[in-house]
Subunit: 335 residues, 2 copies
DNA sequence: CAGAATTAAGAAAACGTTTCCAATAAGAGG
DNA sequence: CCTCTTATTGGAAACGTTTTCTTAATTCTG
């Protein structure tokens, strides 16, 4: 491997001069600069970022801890996070932790050892080790799409209450009086907040609790399917269903169809996320959209501020959802 | 930051001894080992991987160059690649290059400078800079789901010809005699190979070329939509359609539905990839499945061998697709 | 019991940078 | 012509490891 020494030798200058030229720090004469660049060109020299990082204590590395990169939600988020990080000159170490706490622990250790400057992670659970491991709490981090109970951790997320309200008002406006909801795991704050927004809006509109049937899902297709089965065992159409993400909505609609019900004629369905497939689904899915780009960008920006040690006023940022109306919702048919 | 020196001091031994204990290299007495581990525990010492890598010339880092992490195909592949890398003790730097050649160049530079030990990337284009930049060709790499024209680059991919054949035989067996196909971009070898398998099988079965209508797509939903519009302008159902990935199949089916055609009654559709959403689509999509886990695992294994400098007999590995029959295909209706 | 062989541990060099400090050369001012 | 700045440059330490080479201490062998 060709090092800065080789460049210095070929250019006939000292190592420090080469460094100065490369980093454009300090004074250097035009001629030496030229000599140095020429040598670099000839030798195809590329600085070793390990050495640079070791010396300068800056790695320009971030850890991206994600539950499941294969889920459309996280894949989308990851894309925008990567984009924002790239813009700021950071690289991302991809850590797919799944449901495995051991793996999360492993990765956190590794990230620390690799001297990442910060960690960004969507939707950690409350049991997450991040907050537990003491030497970890020193490293800047930002949590996306999720609040941790205990402390005022830096967070960027959707206004989930507003999201629930958006779904509820849309369905109310269509004239629905009977509702169902498939939530995410209740231990995740996101689920609770969305439910809160959904329920309070309905109740304020005078819907009685007997007419609201809530089942717990898992944000996956299968949770939507199982949820819908339970709902249809207890509730007879027409009614309106709010699924807390699109995947579950897809699963739920499939079950409805299998049982002979039509969407939106018998059941209106609202999803959440605005997955690109909503458009091609049959029927195209009405959904509460997340501005993924905003979340990611705000997250990285916040993280960078924390890394630079700047004082941040608002450690907790929320972004607003918006409704995308398609064909899976309609007024309830006459009974 | 607490370093190995602090540990040495607290344990009352030399730095080299601490290093030996940590790496379990060389002889150390039970007592010193205990002293060292105790000091490590007290100080919460974690080795600095930058320094270690710098010295040992091993970073245990891999670059993952991917066109679009938000596409279901790449997200799925990335997940399994990450899994395989993790098993082998490697970390991944995520590089989402999009369609931007400048970005690809940037990232390749950065990866080299970060001293990654290898690069793995799905579906590079032939114009990819990888092969061009001379100092890059030294760093081990493996290409997934794609062959580069020129040389015998190490590759792991689906047997695409078999994939095309699988789709064709399935449709033939159902009794179809009129066919359409929405390909991927023709400049990507994957598309050409799949088409080859599809066409030769049909022609060998005695289907005349007038009864095969091929349009070029882009592997995205919209390509499927546009492709289907062109097909329906030229071809009247019933016929059988092979889409070279599931996304395009979803788009195509939507257009068919908009135009009043039913799948599979009027048009049989076969996709490719076996996206989890195939199951919940309406109708559930028959598809040629890719064994993502095998591809990823074989890719990482191959890359590791190249890194270790082992001689590899087979630099080019193909894995076999299999058909998953669902409800989007059926015998053609009587006309 | 002397010398050889073995074991455990320390000292120091090396990895490739950045950066502080000192040194040299050139120009300015008196 | 001598001193004082100023502009460039080089030398060397430092970042935190690993690893080679010594050295000291112990055990074995005849």
């Amino acid at each position: 491997m060709v090092s800065i020494k080789d460049v210095a030798k070929l250019a006939g200058v000292s190592v420090s001069t080469v460094s100065r030229v490369i980093n454009k720090r300090g004074k250097t004469s035009k001629e030496t600069e030229e000599k140095v660049w020429r040598a670099i060109e000839i030798l195809q020299y590329r600085p070793n970022l390990l050495a640079r990082s070791l010396r300068s204590q800056k790695t320009k590395l971030l850890g991206l801890l994600v539950p499941d990169i294969d889920s459309p939600f996280f894949a989308r988020l990851a894309k925008y996070i990567e984009e924002a990080a790239y813009q700021k000159g950071y690289n991302l170490i991809l850590c797919n932790v799944g449901e495995d706490p051991k793996r999360e622990k492993d990765y956190l250790e590794v990230l620390v050892q690799r001297q990442v400057e910060g960690i960004i992670f969507p939707r950690v659970s409350d049991e997450s080790l991040l907050v537990r491991i003491p030497y970890l709490s020193k490293i800047p981090y930002v949590i996306l799409d999720r609040t941790l109970e205990k402390e005022e951790a830096p967070t960027v997320k959707l206004d989930n209450i507003a999201a629930g309200m958006l779904a509820a008002t849309h369905l109310l406006k269509l004239g629905h009086r009977k509702f169902a909801c498939i939530t995410g795991p209740q231990k995740i704050s996101v689920s609770r907040e969305r439910l809160e927004g959904f329920l309070t809006t309905l109740i304020q509109a005078g819907i009685s609790v007997e007419n609201i049937f809530v089942v717990e899902g898992d944000f996956k297709i299968d949770g939507g399917r199982k949820g819908m089965e339970r709902i249809l065992d207890h509730l007879s159409p027409p009614f309106a269903l709010f699924c807390m993400n699109d995947m579950m909505a897809f699963g739920a609609i499939q079950v409805a169809r299998e049982r002979g019900w039509q969407v939106p004629r018998d059941i209106s369905v609202v999803g959440l996320d605005n997955n690109p497939l909503c458009e091609v689904f049959s029927p195209p899915l009405t959904t509460v959209a997340q501005p993924f780009d905003q979340i990611a960008k705000a997250g990285i920006t916040l993280l960078c501020k924390l890394i630079e040690g700047k004082k941040v006023r608002k450690k907790s940022i929320t972004v607003l959802p918006y409704l995308v109306t398609r064909q899976s919702t309609a007024p309830p048919r006459e009974q």
